[in-house]
Amino acid sequence: MEKLLGVITANYSTKYPSVLSEARPAASVPFLGRYRVVDFALSNMVNAGIKTVGTIMPYNYRSLIDHIGSGRDWDLNRKKGGLFILPGSAFGTSRTGSRFLLRDLEYNKVFLKRSEAEYVVLSSASFVYNMDLTKLIDAHAESGADITVLTQAAKAKDVDVTGFKVDGTRVHGVKHGVEFGDVAFLDCFVIGREFLLQLLDWYEQTDYLDLFEAMAADYERVNVQVYDYEGYVAPIFNKDTYFKSNMDMLDPKITAELFPADRRIRTKAHDNAPAKFETGSRVSNARVSGGCRIKGTVSNSVLGRNVIVETGAVVSNAIVMQSCVIKTGARVENAIVDRNNVVPAGTELRGTPESLLIKEKATD
């Protein structure tokens, strides 16, 4: 019997209608050139030995299905268990601030009921981190808590991150947004499967609420414990945190922690050739994905797959997503350029460090 069941709530968008979420759900936002944000939640679960993962789909699920497919790249194409594509409750709406809407779980009660797992691990697809979740699960089993939530002391103010009011290690309240030093919820928790089903019955009348909001009056009787994670965490909720977290990947110490050899972050496999750095190219402090061909200058930037930087073109302090072409003499600076854009020769896409320029996705 499998002891663990995973659920990823991949159906939420952020409230900012920007390049990062308008065209695609938050879960399938590209990260560090070749990944999607959902890779981290999926990989963390699989790396913890979870072999059955239900993924609740957003209404605009095309890009997400395109990415995760049958789950093969996460070894989730299994005869028994594996990846389950689950419907979200509210097609066409995205209620901001909530990542564990009761209705979504209620809607997939059958999935939870059919399982024989002892514990359910739930996660959103809004954070980038690589954690050994068996530690969270073991801590939960040992403490005898009803729910154990993964948290970290907030490194910065973020209105989209959920905060917990904590007494010692016990949660007694929830709030929207965190200030520096608050107990920030990393949108991941473990709960007994039977108990989760019981909670769904309790809160059936208020299923328009987030699970942790619905419990507001019950934190004294439901034992919710925090488990503090000290490693690297990046919330991906707005263009500034998105940009900053990508730029964090230019620090080898951070990437060593995020991509250790023994706990891989898996992603959809592509058949890109290695990147080609041509004679005359000048690249410094950059991440360059497979299939890129560089003749120009790139600094302090992250390039997605198959990006072409032509002779005399300059990319500086920017994220350039897959299949973009920066033509001869063009300049991209302090910008996020979404996929398939061609920046014409001699033109500029230029923001400032305080106000990044966003170039939206071009059609294929």
Partner: protein, 382 residues
């Protein structure tokens, strides 16, 4: 199984002994090449890109890494419930078992596999060649000639023709003569070791060859001459692209360097016929603040802090600070520590060149330096 028009038999059992330390622990088809590939990727990708969906891979020498790498064949779109990739190692029967004694014997021992699939045509391939070819065009050619056997050939420089198996043809590509390494070649069309047989003829010929005590059970030496003598319809299919059989360290190095430059001989970026590989997910390459990277192929997961010039920096390889790598191939996971110089060298997988070590020489008259997989080269050992 449903009937297939053409299946492929991919010979991947060779040791490749002239590749020295590179094939000490792995078979030649599993040797890393081109920054992220293994040599067998090219033949398998050609099959997939040519619409051939049933491929028997005949393995023998040090198969562990190769088998592990092939897995279910999914990396080449060759995992199918009815067809796909089959690993065919030597096996035992009631009367004993034997290693594959020659290229033809390897196929003979797997005639059961061919009969089970019951194809009309069988494509025989070598798993240790680097090229991109549409086998469907070769098959069309075979059918157009109503041939019994079609051999892929490529024109080679006349002065080199005596190193190859040379085919002499008439103006209609019909083969008149086959000479292995002729002293005075009368043609410059070299056999590429790629054959399309009518399946019935292949089965019959191999069954006869199996009981022939004088045969060495080799396609080039025995099977082709025999069919020519028997008056069968043998035709060539001329190929004019990049094709290499990296038999030696020197040719491995030279062929790797052929991938570099502004207009390389081999296009790894061909979107129509991508070379597929079974590569694990690694983050994009990192290029440090003081790095110089000039005319290099750079794989995912690699890090360059020093200087890399005219080199291949494969998946997960590292060029340390102040290190210089020039005209070299770093295989996956190889690490050049700070201050080391590596020139005209091949560094095996996960090998390490320690700090400030000087390895290799720009002197073209000297052999390419080669370090085996997992070997650590310290100061004074270079």
């Amino acid at each position: 199984m449903s009937k297939r028009e053409c299946i492929a038999m991919l010979l991947a059992g060779g040791q490749g002994s002239r590749l020295g330390v590179l094939t000490k622990s792995v078979a030649k088809p599993a040797v890393s090449f081109g920054g992220k590939y293994r040599i067998i990727d090219f033949a398998l990708s050609n099959c997939a890109n040519s619409g051939i969906d049933t491929v028997g891979v005949l393995t023998q020498y040090r198969p562990y890494l190769l088998h592990n790498y092939l897995g279910s064949g999914s990396a080449w779109n060759l995992d199918e419930s009815d067809g796909g990739l089959f690993i065919l190692p030597p096996y035992a029967t009631q009367t004993g078992g034997a290693w594959y004694a020659g290229t033809a014997d390897a196929v003979t021992q797997n005639l059961g596999f061919i009969k089970q699939n019951d194809p009309e045509y069988v494509l025989i391939l070598s798993g240790d060649q680097l090229y991109s070819m549409d086998y469907q065009k070769m098959l069309d050619n075979h059918k157009r000639h109503n041939a019994d056997l079609t051999i892929a050939v490529m024109p080679v420089p006349w002065e080199e023709a005596s190193r190859f198996g040379i085919l002499t043809t008439d103006e209609d590509e019909k083969i008149l003569k086959f000479t292995e390494k002729p002293n005075k070649p009368d043609s410059n069309l070299a056999s590429m070791g790629i054959y399309i047989f009518n399946a019935d003829l292949l089965v019959k010929t191999l069954e006869e060859d199996a009981v022939d005590q004088t045969s060495e059970h080799d396609f080039g030496k025995n099977i082709i001459p025999k069919l020519l003598d028997a008056g069968k319809r043998l035709y060539t299919y001329e190929f004019n692209g990049f094709w290499r059989d990296v038999g030696t360290i020197a040719s491995y190095h030279e062929t790797s360097m052929d991938l570099l430059g502004t207009k390389p001989d081999f296009d790894l970026y061909d979107a129509e016929a991508p070379i597929m590989s079974n590569a694990g997910a690694m983050p994009p390459a990192y290029v440090g603040p003081d790095a110089t990277v000039d005319d290099c192929l750079v794989g995912n997961g690699s890090s360059i802090y020093g200087k890399a010039v005219h080199s291949i920096i494969s998946t997960g390889a590292v060029v340390g600070e102040r290190a210089i790598v020039q005209d070299s191939v770093l295989l996956p996971g190889a690490e050049v520590k700070p201050g080391a110089h590596v020139v005209r060298a091949i560094l095996g997988e996960n090998s390490v060149v320690e700090d400030n070590v000087i390895l290799g020489s720009v002197d073209q008259t000297k052999d390419t330096a080669v370090i085996g997989n997992d070997v650590v080269v310290g100061k004074g050992e270079e």
